[in-house]
Every structure is written in structure tokens, then in C-alpha cells.
């Protein structure tokens, strides 16, 4: 019994220590933002890796999610004689919830894990120590451009996901189910408010990008410097970031007001 309590205590302490380390890492990262020299070139390269290379995945996923939404919601709404509301329901659910959350989860799997694996591999091959020995801060040189790129890429990819999902739902609702295209689009336009809904969506994706940037770079920097350590860190990034995104989604929704 005492052993179990001790074990539990040790785990809680380790968890709190871990949170403290992440917070310290985040503080260093924020502190590194204004410090010269500019890492604009590395930032653009990281933005390409995290953003441009995720475009195909985001567009395809958005379109298929929209198609499924269109099919499911049209069938359900028809039961209540409310199929004209398809555009509004699709728009609101995508802009407020599905867009930022699914984009966050997809980018976590596609780019967040890659960033952790890349930084972890750099650590295990002493590239980060090599930078330190050249008096170059690895946090400023490696982590910062990648974390910023994820933060900027996430809202843009979220917008892309939503547009393609709305198009997918339009395709199914209008061309397959026979709903009038004007009805779909006017319902969408009336229901989705720029300040309230689009603003919330942008805020969510920005926060998710920040969280993913912090978690993926931290896990890479703190992993054990061997193949197993890098693999564990990559898995941990996906799990931790996904849970954090879902939790943050609830918190933002609750604070913003539904």
C-alpha cells in the first residue's frame, strides 16, 4: 500500500516537474523571438515543410470530411424537413469545431511528429551539441523557426480545410442529394458570422499551432539521444499534442461562449 502511494507520489512529482520543464522551455522560446540574428530563411523553410507540404493532405481530408458531413446531415435534416439548413449546419460545425480540431490533429500527425523526429535525430547525432560548441543556441537556431512556422501554418491550413470541406458538402448536398445550390450558400452565409465564428476558429487554430510548436520542439530537444528515444518522443508528441488540442478546444469554446 505504502509502495503504491509512493509510486503515485513519484509519478505526480514527475508530471509536475515535466510541466515545469515545458513551461521553462516555452519561456526560453518566447525570449528567443526578438533575439538577433533573424532566422527568416530557416522560418520560411520550416513553413514550407510544415505548411506547403501539408496542403494536399489538408485539402483531401477537408473535402472527404465535407462529403461525409453533407451526406449524413442531409439525410438527418431531411427526416425533420429541414434540409435547407444544410449550409448553415455544415458551415457552423466546420468553422467552429471540426475545421480547427481536425486540422490540428492532422498537422500533429503530419508535421509535429516530423519536427520531433528531426530534432531528436539531430540530438542523437550530436548536431545540437555541435551548434552549442559553435556558440549558437539550438533553441534559437532549430526550435524557434519550426515552432513559429507551425503557429503561422495552422490557421492558414485551417482555412483551407474549411473551404474544401464546404466544397465537399456542397458537392454531395447539391449534385448528389438535389439540394438547391443557392439555398445551401445563402444558409451558410447567414449562419456563419465573421467576428464570432471565424474569429473563434482562427483563435483556436492559432492556439493549437502554438501548442503543437511547443510540444513538438520540446519533445525533440528532451528525448533520449538514441533511436528508441526518438521513436518514443515522436509517439509522445502525437499523443500529448492531440490531447492538449482537444482540451484547449473545450477551454476556448467554454470561455468564448457558445
Amino acid at each position: 500500500m505504502i509502495g503504491a502511494i509512493r509510486e503515485l507520489g513519484a509519478r505526480v512529482t514527475a508530471g509536475v516537474e515535466g510541466l515545469g520543464r515545458v513551461a521553462r522551455f516555452g519561456g526560453h522560446l518566447v525570449g528567443a523571438v526578438p533575439r538577433p540574428p533573424s532566422r527568416f530563411g530557416f522560418f520560411v523553410r520550416a513553413l514550407f515543410d510544415a505548411g506547403v507540404l501539408s496542403v494536399a493532405l489538408i485539402c483531401l481530408s477537408g473535402f472527404t470530411v465535407g462529403m461525409v458531413l453533407g451526406l449524413q446531415l442531409h439525410t438527418t435534416l431531411t427526416r425533420f424537413g429541414a434540409e435547407e439548413g444544410l449550409g448553415a449546419v455544415v458551415g457552423l460545425s466546420l468553422v467552429r469545431e471540426l475545421g480547427p480540431v481536425l486540422t490540428g490533429l492532422l498537422v500533429t500527425g503530419r508535421a509535429g511528429s516530423a519536427i520531433t523526429a528531426e530534432i531528436g535525430a539531430m540530438k542523437s547525432t550530436e548536431q545540437l551539441d555541435g551548434l552549442r560548441m559553435m556558440a549558437i543556441d539550438p533553441l534559437h537556431f532549430v526550435a524557434l523557426p519550426r515552432a513559429l512556422a507551425l503557429t503561422i501554418a495552422m490557421p492558414l491550413l485551417n482555412g483551407l480545410f474549411i473551404v474544401f470541406a464546404i466544397a465537399g458538402a456542397y458537392g454531395v448536398g447539391v449534385w448528389r442529394q438535389g439540394l438547391d445550390g443557392g439555398v445551401y450558400l445563402s444558409g451558410l452565409e447567414d449562419a456563419v458570422l465573421f467576428g464570432d465564428d471565424v474569429g473563434q476558429s482562427l483563435l483556436k487554430s492559432l492556439v493549437f499551432g502554438l501548442l503543437l510548436g511547443l510540444i513538438s520542439t520540446y519533445k525533440g530537444h528532451s528525448c533520449a539521444p538514441d533511436a528508441a528515444g526518438v521513436a518514443r518522443a515522436t509517439t509522445s508528441t502525437v499523443v500529448t499534442a492531440s490531447v492538449c488540442i482537444l482540451l484547449a478546444d473545450y477551454v476556448i469554446t467554454a470561455l468564448w461562449g457558445v
Partner: protein, 250 residues
């Protein structure tokens, strides 16, 4: 100083001094802490207790930013090169020049080409590290370590993976850097002939501590561990070297 990783003690009561402007050779079997000691001199690893002073700076008291300032005067060659694999040879070797001296790239390219030539490499500036052989990679890493003309050079196995011509080239370069620029050089190596030829001081790591002395002192040592490590070949080589040096001095 003392250092342990978990239950494994690497250094326990280890104490040694390395004179400025000399070439120091770290010897010892696998796992005696040669690379770890180099990392500690570079401030990459802190001891559990005790002090490490480099050029008068007490490393254990320094923050990471202060260590960065000290490291500007230290070059380090890592065992596996530690080149940035997403950057070309030019970008790797020129990185410290760009970061600290803010030199423009055309100027950096000229400087880098000169340093690469000194390690026997030409026309490799545009290649990525994955396109280089093991020996070329080590020489590029060596070029990166010396490009800022540091006061202290830490070399972890500088001759490993090199052919005899390049072993001799790197050895000559180390001796020249030491003579002309007064560089303090700390080398770990299993390449006994080259290491013994250039070393002013030898430090044999053992059981958490060390034995230090000039090559001649260690060659004539009656300590069983020292004689075992140097072996018959090493001692006779040192004796021959001693004779040659005394001959050239007289």
C-alpha cells in the same frame, strides 16, 4: 571533480591540469571517459561536484549564454562529425563565420575554400554531408572546428577513418596550428604513432582518475597500468622518439 551517470561512476576525484599552448593526448580504454572529459572542457557536461576551469573561467558557475561566449574561443571536433545534415559543406563550415562575424557569403566562401584546402578537400562546398565519405566528413568537421581560429581545440578521434596520407596531413596541421598560433589542443586518439609524435603531455584515464606526464615520463613509468596500456610497441616507439628529439636538440 566527480561525475557519475546513474550508478556508473566515470570520474571520482579526477584532477589534472593542461598547460596553455601545448598538445595534450587523452588515453584510456573504452568507457574511461575520454570523450566525456572533452565534453566537460567544452561545457557540454557539468560535473556532479568539483570544478573545471577553462582559460580562467569556472565553467560550473556559468550560464548557458556565458558558456556561449567562452565557446567562441573553443573549437571541437566530435567523434561522428556532428555536421548539420540539412546544410551543405559551405554552410556547415561557414556557419560560425556567418553567425559571429556577420561576414557576407562570398567572403565566407573564399575563407571556407582556404580552410578546406588545408585539410585536403577541394570542390566539395556544394555537397551535403550525406554525399561525403567517412574520411571526408571528418575533415569537413575538422575544418569547421578550426575555421574561427580558436584558442583551444578539442579533437575526439581526429584520425579515425582517415587514410595514412590524410592522417599525416591532419597531424601536420595540428602541429602547425599549435606552433604558429599557440593553440592549446586536447586530442583523444587510438592512433598511437601520430598521437605520440605530436603530444607534449599524455593523460591516461583510469579508474575514475588519471596519470599524467610527458610522453618520455610515461614511457619510463613503472606503473603496471601505464606499461600495459602503452604496450611494448608504444614504449619502444617513445624511446625512439625520445632519442630522435634529443639528437635534433643537440
Amino acid at each position: 571533480m566527480r561525475l557519475a551517470f546513474g550508478k556508473r561512476t566515470v570520474f571520482d576525484g579526477m584532477s589534472c591540469r593542461m598547460a596553455k599552448g601545448k598538445i595534450h593526448l587523452l588515453l584510456g580504454g573504452s568507457g574511461t571517459g575520454k570523450s566525456t572529459l572533452l565534453r566537460m572542457i567544452g561545457g557540454l557536461q557539468r560535473p556532479n561536484s568539483g570544478e573545471i576551469r577553462v582559460a580562467g573561467h569556472l565553467l560550473s558557475e556559468k550560464s548557458e549564454r556565458e558558456l556561449g561566449e567562452i565557446r567562441k574561443g573553443i573549437g571541437m571536433l566530435f567523434q561522428n562529425g556532428a555536421l548539420l545534415d540539412s546544410m551543405t559543406v559551405l554552410e556547415n563550415v561557414g556557419l560560425p563565420l556567418r553567425e559571429h562575424l556577420r561576414q557576407p557569403w562570398p567572403e565566407i566562401a573564399t575563407h571556407v575554400a582556404r580552410v578546406l584546402k588545408s585539410v585536403g578537400l577541394e570542390g566539395v562546398e556544394g555537397l551535403l554531408p550525406r554525399h561525403l565519405s567517412g574520411g571526408m566528413l571528418r575533415r569537413v568537421a575538422f575544418a569547421r572546428a578550426i575555421v574561427m581560429e580558436p584558442e583551444i581545440l578539442l579533437c575526439d578521434e581526429p584520425f579515425s577513418g582517415l587514410d595514412p596520407i590524410n592522417v599525416s596531413r591532419i597531424e601536420d596541421l595540428l602541429v602547425e596550428l599549435n606552433r604558429k598560433l599557440g593553440l592549446t589542443i586536447v586530442v583523444t586518439s587510438h592512433h598511437m604513432a601520430s598521437s605520440l609524435r605530436m603530444a607534449h603531455q599524455m593523460i591516461l584515464l583510469r579508474r575514475g582518475g588519471c596519470v599524467a606526464g610527458t610522453p618520455e615520463e610515461l614511457a619510463s613509468s613503472s606503473d603496471a597500468e601505464v606499461t600495459d596500456f602503452l604496450g611494448e610497441d608504444g614504449r619502444s616507439y617513445l624511446a625512439r622518439l625520445h632519442e630522435l628529439r634529443s639528437g635534433s636538440a643537440s
